[in-house]
């Protein structure tokens, strides 16, 4: 029903546009012919012919020149006469041809618009389904993240209750209490992750040396991820950035890299200046297993992750990109394969605070 209505609306629009176009063409198409065929033009040309004939009578020496001018004018007059005799047909053909071109063009445009609308509709549907699937996956992960510690805490509480009733040794009671505290800490970590996503600070931009930032990062976090070596390839570039937020981006990237190299028994992350002039870019490359093709287009979306259930919510890259966008720059996935992955931190031209 909607398609029929849409088709009818399109046809009415084309018909209306065609009618308007035809009225316009009809008004203007005869104009150029009328200009050429004005009686004054003909009279002037005929007068010119007569003048040339008179001149030859007075000036026989230049007779040939007058003759040439006469013939040229006469030729023009004859051509205009041929046009005058065909004026109606010429105008009609002109209008019909333009009308046919217009209708064909309108039909092509309508088809193109219709196809685009259909494609957009299909894309919207696909995107909606993707969003729903992501939300489903997120809900599953959140339920798992919450359910795990809660179940564990409940079991420990039951064990603790049993122990108290049975008059269990104090060590067992304390162990159960510690275990409950650990599970509650897991829950707290989980909520902190969301809180950090919700409260990414506005960057305070200060002039920084990327070399200094990365070297300090390597010195501080060199041993943070077992099996992961941090390497600085040299060079330097000055940027305006928030050092703390920049460090958070590097931490998130390295956390991902650490997981990516786990299967290889370890690996390295290399930091390199990709572009020293504006816009400055810093590449962060690892030697991990790469990002699956199915996830590449959505890798910066929240809750998209390669990790197993219970190992993270997939917020790290999303937070990192938000930070870089807040800097007036961007975080890009430059390359990924079985040999490794490279992310690029692009710094915009934002001025320092």
């Amino acid at each position: 029903m909607n398609r029929a209505r849409s088709l009818a609306a399109t046809l009415v629009a084309i018909a209306g546009a065609t009618l308007l176009f035809w009225l316009l063409v009809h008004q203007i198409s005869g104009l150029w012919l009328d200009v050429a065929l004005r009686p004054e033009v003909r009279e002037a040309l005929e007068q010119s012919l007569n003048d040339q004939k008179r001149l030859r009578a007075f000036d026989d020496e230049h007779r040939d020149a007058y003759r040439r001018r006469f013939e040229n004018t006469n030729l023009l007059l004859r051509r205009l006469e041929v046009i005058r005799l065909n004026r109606a047909e010429m105008q009609q053909r002109f209008e019909l041809t333009l009308l046919a071109l217009f209708v064909a063009g309108a039909a092509v445009a309508a088809t193109w618009i219709s196809l685009r609308a259909r494609k957009a509709q299909a894309r919207e549907r696909r995107e909606y389904l993707d969003r729903v699937a992501t939300l489903q996956e997120t809900a599953r992960r959140q339920a798992h993240e919450i359910k795990g510690p809660l179940t564990a805490a409940r079991l420990e509480l039951e064990r603790l209750g049993d122990g108290v009733r049975r008059g269990a040794p104090q060590n067992d009671v304390l162990a159960a209490g510690e275990s409950i505290a650990e599970e509650l800490e897991r829950l707290a970590r989980f909520t902190r992750g969301f809180a950090s996503f919700a409260a990414i600070g506005t960057p305070v931009l200060r002039p920084l040396s990327l070399r200094a930032v990365v070297e300090e990062f390597c010195a501080t976090f060199g041993n943070a991820w077992p099996g992961l070596t941090l390497q600085w390839s040299g060079g330097d570039a000055r940027v305006c950035a928030d050092g703390d937020l920049l460090r958070q981006v590097l931490v998130n990237l390295c956390t991902n890299s650490a997981r990516a190299v786990e299967g290889n028994g370890g690996g390295a992350v290399t930091f390199a200046i990709a572009r020293a002039n504006a816009p400055v870019a810093l590449d962060v490359s690892d030697s991990g297993a790469g990002i699956p093709e199915s996830l590449r287009a959505r890798i910066f979306d929240p809750y998209v992750t390669t990790r197993r259930m219970g190992e993270g919510m997939g917020l790290g890259l999303s937070i990192s990109r938000k930070i870089m966008l807040d800097h007036g720059g961007d975080l890009q996935l430059v390359a990924t394969s079985a040999a490794g992955t490279t992310f690029r931190l692009v710094f915009g031209d934002a001025e320092c605070s």
Partner: protein
């Protein structure tokens, strides 16, 4: 009701007057040796308003004669061309008869044109002692060459044309409309007997 003779006469005059006023020029058809039909066109045809204007325009006015036998498929055709040379003020005429025989003349005056015009044009070859014909005369305002010249000129004037053959777009738009459509057409029936 009493109808008087005067009233009847007046009524007849009133009815017949338009017929006389709009009567077409009538040619004479002539039987010539070899069972050939020739047609002598009346000078009054050249004095018809549209024809008179056209023949003096400087363009070549073509008088196309065609004959169709009523009782067979036999056909015949002839052509007469008239152009007034505006510089020399002479009439350039050409006649091509049904068998391809061509004659060209340069006539110095309108009287000479009228005289030449009345000379019978051989139009049709019959195969019987008597033939009934349907004859058509079309007056074309310009020749094919003049039409083609104008078409080329327009195509080049469009600014899109190439020196060779003009713009395909302009040619498509207006080229095919530059036909020499008849400005007048006459139809006559004729019966010619050969001795």
């Amino acid at each position: 009701m009493e109808v008087t003779a005067t009233r009847v006469s007046a009524l007849l005059v009133a009815l017949l007057l338009p017929a006389f006023a709009f009567a077409q020029p009538r040619p004479s058809f002539v039987a010539q040796p070899g069972r050939t039909v020739a047609v002598s066109l009346p000078s009054s045809l050249l004095d018809e308003r549209e024809v008179k204007k056209q023949i003096s325009s400087g363009l070549t006015t073509t008088f196309l004669l065609s004959a169709q036998a009523r009782e067979s498929d036999r056909r015949g055709a002839a052509r007469v061309e008239v152009r007034f040379d505006l510089w020399d003020e002479v009439w350039l005429v050409r006649r091509i008869e049904f068998d391809g025989k061509e004659e060209r003349q340069r006539l110095a005056s309108r009287d000479a044109l009228d005289k030449w015009w009345r000379v019978p044009v051989r139009l049709f070859a019959a195969n019987a002692d008597r033939v009934a014909l349907r004859v058509t005369l079309s007056v074309l305002p310009f020749s094919i060459a003049e039409g083609e010249d104008a078409r080329q000129w327009i195509a080049k004037s469009g600014g899109l044309g190439t020196p060779g053959g003009g713009s395909p777009l302009v040619t498509a738009l207006i080229g095919t409309t530059l036909d020499a459509k008849p400005i007048r057409a006459y139809h006559w029936n004729a019966e010619v007997a050969f001795r």
